[in-house]
């Protein structure tokens, strides 16, 4: 073990781990407090992170897992487009093909330079990403069932939102002219700016206190530390190749399932994760860009490591990810991608866990609900005389563990957003919640039961357009070791007391008085019934 304990001091390692994590968390606290929209403030759909001068992520606050592997690609895209950033610059982007994930996720990247103006030495980067409730496109909420990315909203390639300390008003004007709720967007963007500024200030202070040498060394030591932790994990897994396949229900245009396949090869302290055999990219908006796939891989291995290690690039260093270009797990421009981030990412996690369950059956849970049940409702709010755009995701059942039942009614794996409180929702939108309940009996049977899903019924108080982007309405969350799969989800329209099933993905014009009922999937069971 002595050789693993490299040059860097085990004590400083732990001290700086806390220090950098505290910077990312403080940025998150600023963003949450200063933001404007319920989506960020109530649901906490955002992440903040700190990077070294090469754009390697050093620390991410524990916010949203799907942002994990993808934030470094945002910084890489910003550096690649603007290799000569200067103090006071700030890059904004959401282009999934240039550092983004899907269009509602807007990322701000700020380079950090030393506070001494005479020596503008680059110290690193800070970035914040927030899911904005609307970025234009064909449906309110910008999570459409689309066939090309241009329908999904405004595409922002990496551009400078600020240049040498001056806000670029033209970029801001262009952006706000293309969204349905500009006031709210502006408030949220300001919150992101404030978060990044706080990160800049903290890193500058750290350098003033410890010196650049110590800060740079500690960043590299933390990357190496997380890498060591991953290597040790891989070493404990038996060598071999583990394969698993599952499928998405459909792309929203055809009824055909969309297979996702993975083979994980463990050799000593390295792993190759190969998605060859997965479906080609699809017409509908379930395509994942590479950043999403990377995030899913990252998430699963991060969970297996199990300890409180920093969230940084070191985790992926011993893992090679092969995702064929042009496939549903590495889509090419201009494929639509709104659902790749929220839905396909969950299925990628499912196949990864399914494969790893063969290598570490005592750790891996059965499949969780495998969807985020995205619901957007938008239209004209007659009460406030203005347009509204409501976005929500709904939790479900988690998979049973080899040692315990799966928890019910929670968000699983790649997301962890909060719900909008009923009383906040009814106050803000022309909607009424009729029922918010655990969907009992939806978890799969087994020695350990899968967690139950949720039932959430919304009554429309005005005519509006609703878009549902959901999964596991046909395929079911798998059980493990003989456990039964969880019940698939159901989307139901209740009009005049009559229930009509709705497809898993689709957009529908609703009338005042209609009730939209989402019933989310249960988790898979574990082990044969006793």
């Amino acid at each position: 073990m002595a050789d693993a304990l490299t040059a860097y001091d085990p004590i400083r390692l732990e001290v700086f781990k806390h220090f950098f994590a505290a910077i990312a968390e403080e940025m998150g606290a600023v963003l949450c407090k200063a933001s404007y929209s319920p989506n960020i403030k109530e649901r906490r759909d955002f992440s903040c992170a700190l990077f070294d001068t090469q754009g390697q992520m050093v620390a991410q606050a524990a916010h949203i897992p799907v942002h994990l592997g993808s934030m470094p690609l945002s910084v890489a895209a910003a550096i690649s487009k603007f290799p000569n950033l200067v103090p006071g610059d700030m890059v904004i982007l959401n282009d999934p093909y240039l550092g983004g994930t899907h269009l509602p996720d807007i990322t701000l990247v700020t380079p950090v330079f030393s506070a001494v103006p005479s020596q503008a030495q680059l110290l690193g980067f800070v970035a914040s990403r927030a899911h904005h409730a609307d970025v234009g496109g064909i449906t309110p909420g910008s999570m459409p069932i689309s066939s090309e990315i241009f329908q999904e909203g405004l595409i922002i390639p990496p551009v400078k939102l600020a240049q040498a300390g001056q806000m670029n008003q033209s970029v801001l004007d262009l952006l706000l002219a293309n969204v349905r709720t500009p006031q709210e967007r502006l408030g949220d963007l300001w919150a992101q700016v404030a978060a990044n500024q706080r990160g800049v200030q903290r890193l500058q202070e750290a350098v003033a206190h410890y010196g650049t040498t110590e800060i740079f060394q500690s960043m590299q030591a933390l990357l190496a530390y997380t890498e060591r932790m991953t290597r040790r994990l891989l070493q404990t897994l038996p060598d071999g190749t583990y394969s698993f396949a599952d499928a998405l229900d459909s792309d929203g245009f055809s009824d055909q399932p969309v297979p996702i396949q993975v083979s994980i090869t463990i050799r000593g302290e390295q792993a190759v994760v190969d998605f060859t055999g997965s479906a080609p990219q699809q017409k509908g908006s379930i395509n994942a860009v590479y950043a999403i796939t990377l995030s899913a891989v990252y998430y699963v291995f991060r969970c297996l490591i199990g300890l409180d290690v920093p969230n940084n690039n070191g985790c992926l260093a011993p893992i090679q990810v092969i995702a064929p270009e042009g496939s549903v797990v590495n889509a090419r421009h201009p494929s639509p991608v709104a659902g790749g981030n929220v839905e396909t990412s969950q299925r990628i996690v499912d196949v990864l866990i399914g494969a790893l369950a063969q290598a570490c059956p005592h750790l891996a849970p059965a499949a969780s609900q495998g969807t985020m049940n995205n619901l957007t409702i938008g239209g004209w709010d007659p009460r406030q005389h203005k347009p509204f755009a409501y976005y929500e995701t709904v939790g479900g059942g988690m998979g049973a563990r080899p040692y315990a039942d799966g928890p019910s009614a929670l968000h699983s794996h790649m997301t962890n957003t909060l719900n909008t409180p009923v009383e906040a929702l009814e106050y803000a939108y022309p909607l009424r919640v009729r029922c918010y309940a655990i969907r009992r009996g939806s978890g799969g049977n087994g020695c350990w039961r899968g967690g139950d899903g949720i039932r959430r019924d919304l009554e429309l108080l005005t005519d509006a357009q609703a878009t549902i982007l959901s999964e596991r309405r046909q395929t079911r969350p798998y059980g493990l070791s003989g456990g039964e799969p969880g019940l698939p989800g159901e989307n139901v329209l209740i009009r005049g007391g009559v229930e009509t099933p709705l497809p898993g993905k689709g957009s529908i014009q609703l009338q005042s008085g209609d009730i939209l009922s989402l019933r989310t999937p249960g988790g898979g069971g574990h082990g044969g019934n006793q």
Binding site: M1, L13, H18, P38, W190, P365
Partner: protein, 673 residues
């Protein structure tokens, strides 16, 4: 009820801790203050309280202000009353679903805490009110009869009621409550506990009240029966006390009773001792104990929060914002697989305790302090419990072998890492909330605080550390320094530009209630202060800022938003979400007389020189006996002050002196050794 009519005049503050129950006795007529400790009796906490009070013949007729962990423990250990919950039809699972997020992102083995009320005791009634407070579906009260068998069969003692939008239209809850009370249940309707919006947080707070109050009630009844002539008051989590009668109705208000005492005491004691900048009192309180550390921030007033979570349950009533981390003297140090030295979160607790206590074998923060010579084994707890440094040395040596370090270097590392934990906690309450630590004084108390306070202050550029002579009985002292205080909140959802008379009219019933409640506590009108504040936001936002109520709420809000978040949106409409009223009944705190400063020479208190290990090597430093120090004494640096309850370490570049109130004031220098 408070001091005014007390027969014996004696005022006694009592704080029940995990190990000791502390007593502080104050005699207002002569200003005498005495303290003592009795071993706690966790099975029946009243035993220790009564045992301590028996030592004081006058206690039978004294004013006793009491910090109670009874409600806290009932919640943390899930030993509350059998509780049922009644909700609007369709929403009984809100309590379990919570906010649908999981607490650990990367831990598949984590389970959410079980809901306080199990599924089969969460019942629904037909009724519905909308967001304007209009009834859409009238309450079908006759159906309550169908629910009663369930309550009776399960032996339910306590019922929480939380209906949607009851903060706008409380009648349905009131009707249900009246009926259930008539049937003999203890009832907590959310419109009485917390009439504010966000159903999950309100339901959770209401259920906590229903769950803990009967337990607290039993305990207080027991005490009152044993002390029929004493006047009992209870400390609340908001730093104010309430009468026994009030506490018996609202246990949720007493959840963080003990720690609140510490914060109140810090504020009152520091007001006398700390030089204030432009009249501002800025303190960071730091209470490091065996298993956990509590920190909080005071800027003239303590900081409050409505987002507290205790034992997995959100508690949305305003309480003192005390941030707790699981690191203390008993935290266990270990090496992880990646070769980092970790401290905590596991703690050796009191059993088996740190290795040096003689039973445990794992190295703790206390063992590290002992190995470094920062503690003297023979003086621990005034010599009552000698420590075994050899065991500490062995434990640290074994840990060091895994890290490639010797025992001393490992011990230094343990201190550095635990300080990093505590630095992070101090950052959360200061820099993360926009306060600059350079303007603050670190007020350190708790048994383990003095060994770490100066180092921590240096890390955060806090210029000054203050350690009170009451450090280890501070919470109990805080009970004596507390005013009577009650908070009232009501969600109203009005436009921010509503005419002032309209806002005043909505405030009027709350103000009247506040005054009536404080008069009922026995306070004369001239001692009652009522302040009003407004929770405001931009329409469309979902979090509010609390601003004092003046004649121009919107302008105040824009300015507050600018200060808090760095921007404002003048053109956006504002919203008045909730009203807040705080009623304070002023109580005269203990008065301290300044002792005259004497000689600056501390030699009469000098004990001996002992070797202490630093990163730069061993160095012999003088130790002083804290109890023998006199006002005006200036200590050399580095030095250590050893007291029966704590040890205080003074760095090489620091200066330390004893003030007129026997506080030790350390002014930090920049260097360490």
């Amino acid at each position: 009820m408070v001091a005014k009519n007390a027969s014996s005049g004696l005022r006694i503050g009592v704080d029940i801790g995990g190990t000791f129950t502390d007593f502080v006795i104050y005699e207002p007529h002569n200003g005498r203050l005495q303290t003592f400790k009795v071993l706690s009796t966790p099975g029946d906490p009243a035993q220790a309280v009564l045992e301590g009070l028996r030592r004081l013949p006058e206690a039978a007729r004294a004013d006793i202000i009491h910090g109670s962990t009874v409600a806290t423990n009932a919640l943390l250990e899930r030993k509350g009353a059998v509780t049922a919950l009644i909700t609007t039809r369709g929403f009984r699972d809100v309590l379990q679903i919570g906010r649908q997020n999981r607490s650990s992102l990367y831990d598949w083995s984590a389970d959410p805490p079980p809901p306080l009320v199990p599924t089969d005791l969460r019942l629904e009634v037909d009724e519905r009110v909308d967001h304007t407070g209009s009834v859409i579906h009238a309450l079908e009260i006759q159906k309550l009869d169908d629910l009663l068998p369930t309550l009776q069969q399960a032996g339910v003692a306590s019922v929480a009621i939380c209906l949607l939008f009851s903060f706008l239209y409380p009648d349905h809850e009131k009707v249900l409550a009246a009926e259930l009370r008539r049937l003999g249940f203890f009832v907590s309707p959310s419109c009485e506990v917390l009439p504010t919006y966000r159903e999950y947080e309100r339901t959770s707070t209401t259920c906590v009240n229903a769950y803990v109050t009967p337990i607290l009630d039993n305990y207080l009844t027991h005490l009152q029966t044993a002390l029929p002539q004493a006047r009992l008051n209870v400390m609340q989590s908001n730093g104010g006390m309430i009468s026994l009668a009030e506490a018996r109705r609202s246990g949720v208000r007493c959840i963080l009773s003990g720690p609140a005492g510490g914060v109140v005491a810090a504020q009152q004691l520091a007001q006398m001792a700390v030089p204030t900048d432009q009249g501002d009192l800025r303190l960071i309180t730091f209470d490091m104990g065996g298993t956990s550390t509590d920190v909080s921030l005071i800027h003239n007033k303590p900081t409050f929060t409505s987002d507290a979570v205790v034992g997995g349950c959100p508690i949305a009533i305003p309480i003192l914002d005390i941030h707790t981390i699981g690191a203390g003297g008993g935290s266990i140090a270990s090496a992880d697989l990646g070769g980092a030295l970790r401290v905590g979160p596991q703690s050796a607790g009191a059993e088996p305790g740190p290795a040096c206590y003689g039973r445990g074998t794992l190295p703790t923060v206390t063992d590290a302090n002992l190995v470094l010579g920062r503690m003297l084994p023979e003086y621990f707890l005034g010599g009552q419990m000698p420590l075994n440094p050899e065991r500490s040395h062995v434990a640290l040596q074994e840990l060091g072998q895994q890290l490639g370090l010797d025992a001393i270097r490992t011990a230094l590392g343990v201190i550095e890492v635990v300080n990093a934990h505590m630095e992070r906690a101090l950052r959360v309450i200061s820099v993360e909330r926009g306060h600059d630590p350079r303007e603050f004084t670190l007020f350190s108390f708790g048994g383990a605080g003095g060994l770490h306070a100066a180092d921590l202050a240096r890390r955060l550029s806090i210029p000054r550390v203050l350690i009170s002579p009451l450090a280890s009985t501070l919470s109990a002292y805080g009970m004596l320094a507390a005013d009577v205080a009650k908070d009232y909140t009501q969600t109203v959802m009005l436009p921010g530009d509503s005419p002032i008379p309209e806002i005043e009219a909505t405030l009027a019933p709350l103000v009247a209630q506040a005054q009536a409640d404080l008069l009922a506590e026995g306070l004369p009108l001239e001692h009652i202060q009522v302040t009003c504040a407004l929770d405001m936001r931009y329409r469309g936002q979902s979090f509010e800022l609390t601003i004092p109520f003046t004649s121009q709420p919107s302008a105040d809000f824009h300015a507050a938003h600018q200060r808090a978040y760095g921007y404002q949106q003048h053109q956006s409409p504002t919203e008045l979400v909730s009203l807040r009223v705080r009623a304070v009944g002023l109580v005269k705190p203990p008065h301290f007389t300044q002792a005259a400063r004497k000689d600056s020479d501390p030699s009469p208190a000098y004990l001996a020189h002992y070797p202490v290990a630093y990163a730069s090597g061993k160095r012999s430093i003088p130790f002083y006996r804290g109890e023998a120090l006199q006002p005006g004494n200036r200590l050399p640096s580095p030095a250590a002050v050893i007291r029966s309850d704590t040890i205080i370490l003074i760095g090489a570049a620091d200066t330390a002196e004893v003030d007129e109130y026997l506080n030790l004031l350390i002014t930090l220098g920049s260097e360490t050794i």
